[in-house]
Structure formats: C-alpha cells, structure tokens
C-alpha cells in the first residue's frame, strides 16, 4: 500500500475528499514530526511507540580500502510495535 492508496482509503473512511485527506495527513505528519523533534514519545495504543533514540559516535572501517571513519552521533526516529500488533501479524503466519 503506497501513499496514494493510503490517502484514498483514508478519504473514503472519513467521508472527506482526497485533497482534504492529503492535507490532513500532512498536518498529522507535521505534528508527529514536531513532537519527535522535541524528543517526545508517541504512544499509540494497539499500534506501537514512535520515539527518537540517540546513536553514539562510532568507528567504522571501509572493508575495501581499510579506511577508518569516525561516524558522528545522531538522533534517529524509531518505531516499536506493540505486542498486540506483533501477535496479530504472527497469528496468521
């Protein structure tokens, strides 16, 4: 399911136009992004947790050239699915 399909379905369910749905989704994504930027943790029950994590700096080596690089620290957004969601997927498979 790509973004277009997603928007279409969303519009159907909410009884809104695709344009509205697109705008709303963008607004929602913006909200989440802003929250994540602020190191907030987004708990969505039945779905999972969206949060940001700190990755420390590390040394990496290019196996071909043997060059060593110091990779700087960074913050990455992560998603942790809830147990409920995990079980749901594994019931079938």
């Amino acid at each position: 399911m790509n973004n277009k399909e997603f928007i279409t379905k969303l519009a159907k369910r909410c009884n809104i136009t695709v344009a509205e749905a697109t705008a709303n989704v963008d607004a929602f994504v913006n909200v989440m992004t802003e929250r994540l930027k602020e190191n907030d943790q987004l708990n969505v029950s039945g779905f999972g947790v969206l949060e940001v994590k700190m990755r420390k700096e590390r040394l990496s080596v290019n196996p071909k050239t043997g060059q060593r690089f110091l990779v700087p620290p960074k913050v990455v957004p992560t998603f942790r699915p809830s147990n409920k969601l995990k079980e749901k997927f594994n019931e079938k498979g």
Binding site: N3, L10, C14, D26, F28, T33, Q41, N90
Partner: protein, 436 residues
C-alpha cells in the same frame, strides 16, 4: 519535551494544527493507524509520505540455546514490523547533529611516532656500542699495533692542521738517534711484519717509521700502552659486538693507509737530516721548524689529557728512570720498521726537554690545544716544598698556570714516583722557555 503523548494528545494537537474539530481529529488519527495495520496485513508494507515506511519482514527460524538450562531450542520464523523513517523525518529529528560528518581517522599516527622514537633510541644504542667496540678492537692487538693506530690518528691530525713536510722530517730524527744507540734496530722491523695482526698489516711497516720519530722515549709509550690495554680489556669484557668490530677495523685500516701515504711522501727528505739524542733525554736539533713544534705539542697535549692519571705517572716514571734500559732499546727497535738512516750526529750541549710524545699515542679522543708550545728548562724558577695532599698537577698549575706542564717538573727532578709526593719534599721548579 520527553513527554509521553497518547492517542488523545495527538488528536488534540492535530485539531489545533489543522484547525478542525477534536472529534474529527480523533477520527482521523484513529483511521490513520487502523489503515496502516490494515495495509500491513494486506500488502505487508505501507508508505506514508513524510513519515516513513512500515514494513513486515520475514525472520527465518533459527536454533538457539536456553541460557539457563543449556537446552537447545528453535526460535520459529516470524514476521517482524520494521519502520524506516522518511528522509525528511530523519533530517528534522537529527537537526541538532546535522553539522557532523564522518571523518576519516588517521589511526596510524600515534603508533608511528612511537616506533620512530624507539628506532632512534636503538640507533643511539648501536652507535654507543660501536664506539665501545672500537676501543675493544684496539685492545686485542699487540701493543705495537695499538701504537700504530693511535699514532696514525695523530698523524691525521697533524696533516689536517698543517702541511707538514718539515714535521715528518724532524719526527724521524729521534728515532734514528735511538737506533744509533741500539744496534738491534735492523732486525726488529722484520718482527713487526711477521707478527700476526689485522689485514691492515701490510701497510703497517711504513707507518711505524713515521710514528716513532715522534716519540723520543719509547719506554713511556710502552708502559702507557700497557695501562691502556688493561683498561680496554675491561671494557671488552663488558661489551662485545661484531658490528662494532668491523667498523673499528675499517677505521684503523683507513688511518694506517693515510699515515703510510704521508710517510711515503716525506720519507726522502728525512733521510738527509739526522739528529742525535742522548740516552736519557731527547734533543731536538735546531732544524726543528716552527710548523713542527706546534703540531707536536698539540699532539702531546692531547695525549696527556687522554691518559688516565696512573698511566701517565707510570709512563713518566719509566721515562725518567730508564733512559737507556734494554726495554727501551727493544721497543725502539721493534717499532722501527725502517732503519734507513742511522747516522751519528753531534749531541747538542743544551739540554732540551721535549714533551713526551709517547703520551700522545695514549689517547687522542679528547683534543684540547691548551698549550701548543714546547718548552725546555732554563734554570730554576723556584724551589717548592710539597704540602700535604699536593699533586704535581696542582704545583704545575700554581707556577705555570697550566696543569698540563707537570711532566716537565717530573723530568727536571728525575722523580721516580711522581704520583707519590711526600709531604715536605722539596722540588725544583724549572723555568720553562718555549723552544724557538
């Protein structure tokens, strides 16, 4: 800020952001997450612009071990939900660290510097060893050889300083004189040749001639050499290294060849002049040139400095006492390879003290040209009464202002044990006048 937001909080924020009612916002958020789950169930992947990709991946079953019991069990294959954030989300979240970029690390820097340092140290050590070995190398050689080597060095220095035609000429003279006294002379040179020595040997015969002339009194040299030899032997025991040996050999060889060349060049003029020497003392004839004197003096002073106190004293003792001992004769003869000119020359009436050149052979490493003039004794300067714990060097320093001139005092007083001055002893201090 580090807050935990739940579904309702998100809805509220969305309502504010989009300017919609809270009910609508809640509906929207709920349907968004429901749709994501649906999409995952349906396709296993959901893409949302600006947020990222939710994807289900298969994890193969694998065997593992129960940590507590050690039993093996199998982790069954399952599906795993993976979220890959969109670039826009990643960048905006990572903004505080955006300025950093991977830097190549020059990890070898520290190690290399360390290695270099260690190398340097090693090299230094090696050099030191070589030096020691050089000394060692000299030791094992027969005394005469030693003398040769040292004198070679002396020759070199002389050559460097001045063009020394006259020098060599003069130098040979004393030797000749000695030879006059000793009849054995002719035979000895052969011995020198026959003695088993270093490869250099072939060149040696030539040198002794040059060297010996420099020393009027071989006995002193002899003793001094012995002393040095012992000293060197000690060193040898302490350190042995073949590398150093080779270096030393090469140095010796080069020196010998140089001296040989000098000798060859100047040997002819020497033959024409001859000097007479009386048994106890050496007399420099008037023919001594200006050039010669300073050169010899430097030579001498050098030697004096280098010699250990004991060696010097012993040497001088022997020198003073044994003017014409058989030892002396033998030495002279031995060291003389070339007995070319044994001519008799009238002995000069004047007594001239020539600085013992034997000392020069002892050590040339410490070269200081403090006194570059040769002196002879011209009457008494004073009579000195020895105080307790006084040494000849101190006396020399007192009267001449130069502690290196003490051998003159020894010679003038014919002291048998210059290193053992007794308190109250009376010593004549000669008035020294420079030759020339």
């Amino acid at each position: 800020m580090d807050a935990k937001l739940n579904h309702s909080d998100l809805s509220a924020l969305l309502a504010k952001e989009a300017g919609m009612s809270l009910v609508k916002a809640e509906l929207l958020t709920k349907t968004v997450f429901d749709l994501i789950i649906e999409g995952l169930e349906q396709d296993g992947i959901v893409k949302i612009n600006g947020l990222g990709t939710f994807k289900l991946t298969e994890v193969a079953s694998r065997s593992s071990v129960n940590v507590n019991t050690g039993e093996k069990f199998e982790i069954k294959g399952h599906k795993k939900l993976v979220f890959t954030p969109a670039d826009s989300l990643k960048d905006s979240v990572n903004q505080p660290f955006a300025m950093f970029e991977p830097v190549e690390v020059d990890e070898t820097y520290c190690d290399e510097s360390d290695e270099e340092n260690s190398d340097f140290v090693a090299e230094e050590n090696g050099a030191a060893e070589e030096i020691h070995v050089e000394a060692d190398d000299v030791a094992p050689l027969p005394e005469e050889e030693q003398a040769v080597v040292e004198e070679n060095v002396a020759d070199e220095t002389v050559v460097e300083e001045v063009e020394t035609e006259p020098e060599t000429v003069e130098e040979e003279k004393p030797e000749e004189v000695l030879s006059c006294e000793n009849e054995e002379v002719v035979e000895e040179p052969v011995e020198v040749l026959s003695e088993p020595q270093v490869e250099v040997k072939a060149d040696e015969p030539v040198e002794p001639a040059v060297e010996q002339p420099k020393r009027p009194e071989p006995v002193m040299v002899h003793v001094a050499k012995k002393e040095k030899k012992q000293f060197v032997d000690k060193e040898k025991k302490e350190k042995k290294s073949h590398k150093g040996l080779y270096v030393a050999l090469s140095v010796v060889f080069s020196l010998i060849t140089i001296s040989a060349v000098i000798y060859v060049l100047y040997i002819t003029p020497e033959k024409e002049t001859a000097i007479a020497v009386s048994t106890g003392t050496v007399v420099l004839s008037d023919t001594v040139t200006d050039k010669y004197v300073p050169a010899v003096n430097e030579y001498i002073t050098d030697s004096i400095e280098g010699v250990t106190v004991d060696a010097v004293t012993e040497a001088t003792i022997v020198d003073a006492t044994s003017g014409a001992t058989p030892q002396d004769k033998e030495l002279v003869s031995n060291e003389k390879p070339i007995d070319t000119l044994v001519q008799e020359v009238p002995e000069p009436a004047e007594y001239k003290f020539v600085i013992t050149e034997e000392l020069a052979s002892l050590n040339l490493k410490n070269i200081t040209l403090a006194d570059t003039v040769m002196y002879y004794a011209d009457g008494d300067l004073a009579e000195h009464k020895v105080v307790a714990h006084e040494t000849l060097t101190r006396i020399s320093l007192k009267y001449y202002g130069d502690k290196k001139l003490w051998p003159y005092i020894v010679r003038y007083n014919s002291l048998s044990r210059p290193d053992d001055l007794s308190k109250g002893m009376k010593i004549l201090i000669p008035k020294l006048k420079p030759i020339n």
